[in-house]
Every structure is written in C-alpha cells, then in structure tokens.
C-alpha cells in the first residue's frame, strides 16, 4: 500500500522560497477534485429520488424514479390514476431542469476540473456550484412537489374530495388508498458524496497551494524594490 502514496517520492517540488514539498501533496487534491467530478457525472445515470406507492390492487406497488434528466417507472400508470384527482402529469414538473441538467452537470464537473489548474483560493469559488448542487436539487424538488400537490383540478372526478397537499420529500405519506414512501436514490447519494470529496479536495488543495502563495509573498517581501523594477 505504501508505494501508492509514495509515488515519485524522490521527486520534490521546489517552492520560490527554496523550501521543498513532496509531489504527492499536489497530486492528491487534483485527484480528489477530478474524482468528485467523475462522481457527479456518474450520478446522472442513477435515480436521484424515488417514490413507491402501494395499494391493495397493486401488489407489486408502483414506483417512479426521478433521474436528473428523465423519469422512469410506472409514470404512465401514476398519471392515469392521478387524473382522478386532477393532478398534473408527472413530467410537467421540472421540465426546464431536466432539459438542461445533463449540460449543467457537465459544466459543474468541468468547473471542478478547472480548479485543478487554479492554484489559489479561486479554486474554491469554482467548486461552489458543485457543492451547492444537491441542496439546490432538493429545494427544487420540494417546489415541484408543492406545486404538484397544489394544482388539483376541481373539475376532476375526485378533485373536490382532496385537500391540497405537499408530498413528503423523504419518508412515508399517503393519498387515497395509496401509501407512499419517498427516498433518496443512489444518484443523490453520489452527488452528496461528491460534495464531501470536493471539501476534502479543497482542504488538500489549500494545504498544497497556500504555501506556494505564502512563499511568493515571502520572496516578494525580501526582494529590493529596485531589483524588481
């Protein structure tokens, strides 16, 4: 194992003030930021959020899986059932988000990778969108669910019998004879994992590059004004 951490241990990075650091100190933050970008991109292939519905006449239950860019599962059937309540079709919520999500995730990933090449505190700024992403996703989902549960058509067969409601973001709920369970999907977990990796990466990034910035400042301070001119 040790050899993995000791890549090119004979190579040293020489800082402007003459001090030396190990090459690994610089490889690790780069690897972590890139790994985080990879996690984010991988997350687009997995559901971010799922809801299962169970009722006596659906012994296997119904399920909708929300991916970052599409919906999967028993969408057609859930829509068919929801027409009794006059609720909008599932795919009417978050259309804009789904249409741009793939590009957006790519952009977040590229920004993270760009951080590898930015050797100062601005790398952290580049990482902010990726850090905020899962939280923004959940906030947006909550708004969609709220809108969904508050768009009941009073003209529908059962519309007048249902109070507006917000389906829970996580955990159990119920509507009519259906019990629902909402849960985070592996995509969302990956996105959160990515934020963790980004934070760790940024910490190592700071640990690696701050000494460079400090060394430059130190050299600058000790150099006579005339020599620099």
């Amino acid at each position: 194992m040790k050899s993995i951490y000791a890549v090119d241990s004979d190579v040293k990075v020489l800082l402007p003030d003459g001090s030396a650091r190990r090459l690994m100190d610089y490889l690790v933050p780069s690897a972590l930021l890139m790994f985080a970008a990879l996690l984010l991109m991988a997350s687009t292939f997995m559901p971010y959020w799922s809801m299962t519905l169970s009722a006596p006449q659906y012994p296997e239950g119904l399920r909708v899986d929300v991916y970052i860019n599409h919906l999967e599962g028993d969408v057609r059937e859930i829509d068919a059932l929801n027409h009794y309540l006059g609720m909008p079709k599932l795919d009417e919520g978050g259309r804009l988000e789904r249409s741009i999500s793939a590009v957006a995730i790519l952009a977040l990933g590229l920004l993270l990778m760009a951080g590898v090449f930015v050797h100062n505190q601005w790398a952290a700024v580049l990482a902010i969108p990726a850090l905020a992403f899962p939280v923004v996703f959940l906030a947006d989902l909550w708004i969609i669910l709220y809108t969904y549960g508050h768009s009941i058509d009073p003209e529908s067969p059962l519309g007048s019998a249902i109070e507006p409601f917000t389906p829970p973001l996580f955990g159990p709920g119920s509507i009519g004879q259906f019990g629902t369970v909402a849960s985070p999907g592996p995509g969302l977990i990956l996105a959160f994992a990515a934020t963790g990796v980004v934070l760790i990466g940024l910490w190592f990034h700071r640990a690696a590059y701050k000494p460079i910035v400090d060394a430059r400042n130190k050299v600058k301070a000790s150099t006579p004004q005339a020599a620099r001119a």
Binding site: K2, V28, L190, A193, I200
Partner: protein, 670 residues
Amino acid sequence: MRSLIHPRRLRYVLAAVLTLVAILAACAQPAPGPAPAAEGIPADAAAVIAERGLTPDDVYSAVKTYMPTGQYDPYIMFASGGQGGQVLVIGVPSMRILRLIGVFTPEPWQGYGYGGASDKVLEEGYVDGRELEWGDTHHPGLSETNGEYDGQFVFINDKANARLAVIDLRDFDTKQIVKTPNAINDHGGTFVTPNTEYVIEGPQYAAPIGYEYASLDDYQEKYRGLITFWKFDRAKGRVDPSQSFQIELPPYWQDLCDAGKGPSEGWIFCNSLNTELATGGVELGNPPFEAGTAKNDTDYLHIFDWKKAEAAFKGGKAETINGMAVIRLQTAIDEGILHFTPEPKSPHGSDVTPGGEFVVVGGKLDPHVTVYSIDKIKAAIEAGGFDADVYGVPVIPLDKSMEAQVELGLGPLHTVFDDKGYAYTSLFLDSAVARWTLGGPYAGKNPDEPWKLIQKLPVHYNIGHIAAAEGDTASPDGQYVVALNKWSIDRFANVGPLLPQNLQLIDVTRTGDQMKLLYDLPIGMAEPHYAQIIKADKLKPFEVYPEVGWNPDTMTLDPNAITDLTQARVERNGKNVEVWMAVVRSHFTPERVEIKKGDHVIWHLTNIERTRDATHGFALSGYNINLSLEPGETQTIEFDADMAGTFTYFCTEFCSALHLEMAGYFLVEP
C-alpha cells in the same frame, strides 16, 4: 521538511469516500416470510376434521390440493370443452378453473365473435360459407419441441365439422380456424409430430371425399376416411394449407391417433373401429352400428410412415381435390406409406410410450391392452410379403407386431404414462383407472414385475379419457393423473337432470398400489374429452400486450392504434365515419359519437392502459357488439348504422371505482 500527507491519514480519507460510494451498493434485505405451518394439526383444524368426519386420506387430499391465495399451481391443464366448442384452462393440483378460451363458439366474456377481429377467425371456419355457431372440441394438442411440450401453442379439433383451431399461448387467444377440406367430421386429432412439423387431424365417420352425395349402397367404393397433415408455420403461428396434405383411407372409421417419437419418430399410429364396413340401418332390419362395427374380432391399427407421405406430397404424387393435396389410397400403398396390423375390436386409444418404443391400444370390448413394438413393426415392414386387406393395404400379422397384451379389466380406452415405468389406462365399463407396468426398457423403473396390472382405482363414473402430467411427452412427470369422467351421478348437489362432468385428480407419486383419488372438479359448462397437462413454468404468456396498440390477430402494432387521449377523434368521409377511440379508466374518448342512419362505421378502439388486469369491455347496445379490450389491445369493429335512435356504449368489465360512469352515447340521426 513538513509533509502534509501522511500515508495513514490519506488512507482514512479514501476509505471514507469509498464507504460513501459503497452505500450505493447496499440493497434492502428481503423481509423474512411467515413461518411454515407447525407440525401436527392445530386444534381448530382438528375440530373441523371431527365435525366433517374426515379420514386421514381426506386430510391428505385436502392439504395436497390446497393452494393458498396467491400461490400458483405447478401444472396447467388444457381440457377440451366438447359440445361447448371451447378449451378450458385448469390449475393442477388445485383444480381451479383459470380460463375459458373461446374457439369454435362465440364467447361474450372475452368478446370473442361479437364484432372484433375474432369474427374473422370464426368466419374462416364456416363450412362452404355457412355460418357455424358451435363446435365439438375433442383433443387439445400442445405444440412440442423434441417431443416435449414447449408451451407456445395449443391446437384443438372440432369433431362436428372437421375443423382445426390454433390457440397462441402468448395471449391464450384463438388465432386461426381452418375448415378441413374434403372432410365433414374428424376425431383423431389434434396431435403433433415431435417438433410440431405437422398438426394431425384423423378422421372418424367415413364419407365420400368432399362429402358429396353418395348412396350408402356404394359405401365400399365411394366412402373414404381422410387423415390431414396440417403444416404448421411456427413463426407465423398459423397452419399453412398450401403446404398441407391429406391421405385417403379405407372407410374404416379411424379413431384416435398418436405420433411416434424416438425410435418411432416418423411414424403415426391410428386405430379404426369399422373394418366391417357397417352402414347401419337398424330401422331397415340391419344391425345397428353398435353391433355392426363390432362383428369382427379385430380392427386395423393404421401405421403411417409420414416422412414417406411428405416425400410423396412434395414429389407431386398427390392429387388436388377441392384445393387440397390428397395422396390417394393406391399411392399410399404403392409408396409404402400405409400398413395395417390387427388390433382388438372397437379400440379407442392408440398411445405411444414416452421413449417411442411401443404403441398401446385399448380395445373397448376386449379386457386387454395390446402393446405393439415399433422395432417389430419396422422389421416386419422391411421383410414384407404380407396379405392385403380388401383395399390392398398390406396387413402385418399380429404375431409380427405385438410385444405384449395385459389384461386390465372392462372397457380399456386411453393410456397415459408416468416417469416410473407405469402406464395408466382408463377403464370405461369398470369405472376405474388401471395402473400397470411397462416392460422392455421401462422394467426396473419401479419395484413391480413388467407387463402386469398393479392397481385398479375406482373413479366416478364412466371414465373416458385420462391425462397425466406432461403425459404425452418424451419425459412424463408422474405426480398427477386426471380422470375425465363422463358421468358424475351422485357426486355433487343435484342441479337438475343435466349433470356436470367430473374431472378427478389422482395422486400417482407413490409406486405399487398406492394411487390415491384426491379431488373432484365438476365441469358444468362443457364436456371435456381429452386434456393435456403442462408444467406451468413452460408457459410464458404476456401480462399485458407488449405495446399500446397491439393487434392480437396479427401480433404486431395495429396501424389504427392510438397511444393517448389526444389522438382520439372522429372523421367523416362521405358516408364513412371512422372513429379512433381511446379507452382508459374510467372513460372512453370520445364520449359522444353522432352519426346519421345509413352511415358505415369503422370504429377503432385502443385500451391505452399498461397495468395488469386493467381490462375494459366495450358493449354497444342494440348492435350485438361486445369487445374485451385487454391492456394495450387495439380492436376494430365495422358495421352499417342501419338503426336510427339513441344507443349507449359502456364498459362491460368492472374496471374501476368509476366503472359505471365509463359510458358514452351513440346517436344515430334518422
């Protein structure tokens, strides 16, 4: 020099990241199921046993056949429906009726023959343009691959009018009915060759070819039997009449048949019951058929070399009669296609053993079953030099074809087989099932002596056919045998003078004389003749049709399908009104169809549901229209609106809480 990254610390960081990722792989453990019933009988069950006076055998039978809700039977039985013209689908061992399949008779529950594509299937079966509203289904035949049921198709004959139907087991729907040319009745079918190359329909009551008029005085010269080899196109799921042929036979009233397999592959065996050429006329002082056909001690087992018959047909040696290729009797004799060998008089079953070594014939009026050896038959045919019957067909002497005779009892009819070297023969007159041992390669599969009667189990009553689990295949399963009894007499509560048939389940798992009668299934809507029992897991039917807009007739997407409500519409083109209707819980779209008297209506309906069991009916009052639209199904109805008035259409299958509201108005303006 200070190093930021200690290898150990980095290891922890990476481990933490990997743990997060690993959470993804975690999946829920299945919840433990309920504990199996404790050993011993619970007190409340014991009370029921005492109250009803159940014997230990009764309790065994009850437990053996009980299927708790949601548990499926390991076997599925396809039984003919006799004069009902249907096929029944029954779970074994619970003996629960799972489905009725409309075949030759219109069947309103499944919308069969009330306006949809099935009208055309029924129309294909009209006799010379005359509408028939029923059939007499006798012997279902499951399609086979290498001599094993493959669960893809089931075929069934109509004895009354000489017809054959193809049922596709993807949706358990009748796809094709063919009227057998030249024949007006049949019996010895359907059965298939080991790879379903041909579906074979044997004849019964002789008639002139093409059932033209001929005096009974000319019986010997003009009356004939006809066996039909229907070529089956598995990819299309249809028989192909252009590749099919018939063989002309003497008018001997051929009866049941079976196809050889293994060493007897390429051979077909049919028995016959009127080699006496009796023509009846009891009112004229002649012996009635029942006596006239039973005068001789023996009839003829017909032995066909179907590979030679196929070669003769392909070699252009068949004559086309009424559009059908017929191999004439003389050609069949000359080409070595047909041989006879004597069999006990008036036989019924002619059944090939699982390995294909023997053919078992039960003579109704002889207490024996006679077992023929295919090796002996082949050797005899090779040697040649036989006498011929009056029509010139070579007759192999009995001592050159017979392997054994086993005395079973009175009225042996039909024989099926298990996996332990036993044969089971129905004894009509004794009202019993005989278990007996096969010899040859089957000896030693059970502790009993070969070619010997082991047990006679009384059944109730007058057993006709008998069916065994996978019984007609190259590898029967044993376990269960079903007696298809013609009479039930006192077995059930009296429901008037027309009594149900009685299908009785028999447990044959134990060797020796340990057969046990398990359970009765009264059939009060049909008279099953024969049945076949397939392992349930060989059937892979659709749960819903594969796509919205599926046409069950073509088994492809229907060009007139619509996939959502927005495509529903009505278009008028002169006097033609075309409707594209979407059907979904709990409404039809459109809900109003307004036309003028005399309009021609073409009405396409698509059930756009994808949920299992979300079937809708479509009934149009006054117009004799009723469809069953299963999830995804598209049907088209076409009719002239020749009655003015206000009509309603509604869903006939209780589909949802708002099912009653699933309706519409069809207004025909005068």
